[in-house]
Symmetry: C2
Subunit: 314 residues, 2 copies
């Protein structure tokens, strides 16, 4: 039995959308999963009843408190021991749950992941990634997308390995093509960081490195895993998300551009920490919550963290 913990109070539309997401997830077959719903029971119980949730299939974990969006992450996590996020990390650290999901205070989620769960031994810097909808129908991965605004070449070189494992195990790409995001195709192009990272990736025997790609290649099939620093990646990701909004505002309904909607990927796993932690978008709706639970299950099932630990040791 897998135990997945979810913060029911995190996100702009929580707990209602979290409950709806739970309904959505439970409507599919997941006989081997127990969802630990962490949140205020006074608010949650009537919602569970209203939405016809069979409470024998879940476990309600009461959390009297929540961490707000503008609270200082470290301080809030330390002082609000009864908050849904603090309880989630306590359950995850103590092994009562196998993965933890929240769409609440991103900073608190990162602090919890780094300090209460901790990086896998040998991992220089954990990273967060994002799905890339490719024009050919496939899905790529971009990382880092914001956890590490300044990177070192050695860290970027490891992101490539973390991304490869994720692409193999979750996106089911047997031998992912790994590329470096850059301003030109030839070796030697780029800023100092990209120039110094290229030779490391070229020598990296864990990955199938295909060289540099440019901004125009993100959505084509040149690469499956695209490595960049978190500053560049975060700006790219947010710009890509805004393309979806632009199509909506222009009244365009298109199957491909609809894949740019954040709800489809749900949340961002923190890769490189010892247990699965998934951070949701603040504006997560039912579909996003449901997809995050499904992603958490996959990450536990495929033992992503174990596989990362193994490959980093090599």
């Amino acid at each position: 039995m897998m135990n997945i913990g979810i913060d029911m109070m995190g996100g702009d539309y929580a707990p209602l959308e979290a409950v709806k997401g739970l309904v959505r997830f439970l409507s599919t077959q997941h006989s081997n999963v127990l969802i630990h719903c962490i949140g205020n029971e006074v608010e949650l119980q009537p919602l569970f009843q209203e939405h016809g949730i069979d409470t024998s299939k879940i476990k309600l974990v009461h959390a009297a408190d929540t961490i707000g969006y503008h609270e200082h992450p470290t301080k809030a996590l330390k002082e609000k021991t009864q908050s849904s996020i603090a309880i989630g990390f306590h359950l995850l650290a103590s092994g009562k749950i196998d993965a933890f999901i929240s769409a609440g205070n991103t900073g608190a989620m990162l602090v919890g992941a780094m300090f209460s769960i901790k990086p896998i031994e040998g991992v220089l810097r954990p990273t967060i990634s994002s799905i890339i909808p490719k024009l050919n129908g496939e899905t790529g991965l971009l990382l880092d997308v914001g956890l590490n605004a300044d990177c070192k070449p050695e860290q970027m070189n490891q992101f490539a390995i973390l991304g490869k494992i994720y692409a193999q195990q979750i996106l089911q790409i047997p031998q992912p093509k790994v590329a470096l995001m850059n301003v030109g195709e030839e070796e030697g192009k780029g800023n100092i960081l990209a120039q110094a990272t290229y030779p490391l990736l070229k020598e990296n025997t864990h990955i199938h490195f295909v060289g540099n790609i440019e901004g125009r290649d993100i959505f084509n099939d040149k690469a499956d895993v695209v490595v960049c620093d978190g500053f560049t990646g975060n700006i790219l990701l947010k710009m890509a998300e805004s393309v979806y909004d632009l199509t909506q505002q222009r009244g365009i309904q298109d199957e491909y551009f609809n894949r740019f909607h954040y709800e489809n990927y749900g949340g961002t796993p923190v890769l490189g920490v010892a247990k699965p932690v998934i951070i949701g978008h603040g504006i997560s709706g039912a579909k996003a919550f449901s997809n995050m639970i499904a992603l958490a299950c996959k990450m536990v099932e495929r033992d992503i963290c174990g596989k990362i630990a193994e490959e980093i040791r090599l």
Copy 2:
């Protein structure tokens, strides 16, 4: 009388598309402009005849040679003195023309701009910019988009001034809102470079600084001039250009997304050098060539270089 020089041999579809662009430009009223068409007269004369160009309205400057795409910029420019690009820079440096345009070897254009024309006194690093199509119908400016892969805060702070002048004079925005591209809105966010640049922009009395913007804000009305390092800017620009290609491949015809097509902005001026130099896209077609000539005229008319020199001195 304005004298605009154009390399008729530069670009994948030259000289044919350059000639068509010339026809397009000449069909509008420009009585005070003399176009110096630099290229191989054996190839150009029959094309001029075929496309009905009144050769009294232009000046054909013979260039026996061309610089190819894969030639080494510095070496080619030095050795191929009879190439269209070398002749163009010679004419520009000696004052025979007031602006020079080419869609040929980008490296050679940059080398020519930097070494034969030279930066304006006080300009730390010249920069290249790109137009941003905003959803509200207006046009913004992103810079640097690739000339400076690694930047210093002082250089970024100057890009803001160059961008402001261009936005005022060419995009006709009286008081452009200038923003720093970053990963979050609050001061203190970002990588080391962005963190160090923010206070300089805040203190910069030449500009109306509105703070940080994120990747999702590029196409909205938060800012008119967006400053970033050339690595980030180049990747963003190429990704934005690819969005146009995506819409085309999805069969979407939309007035707004059509503005993402490079032909609409034509070429990229090198800002901060002593005379107007415009670099065209390798795949420039007639519309792009025509728009580049129009842009060159505007830059001369409004004396962009003089205004930059004046403001940098202050």
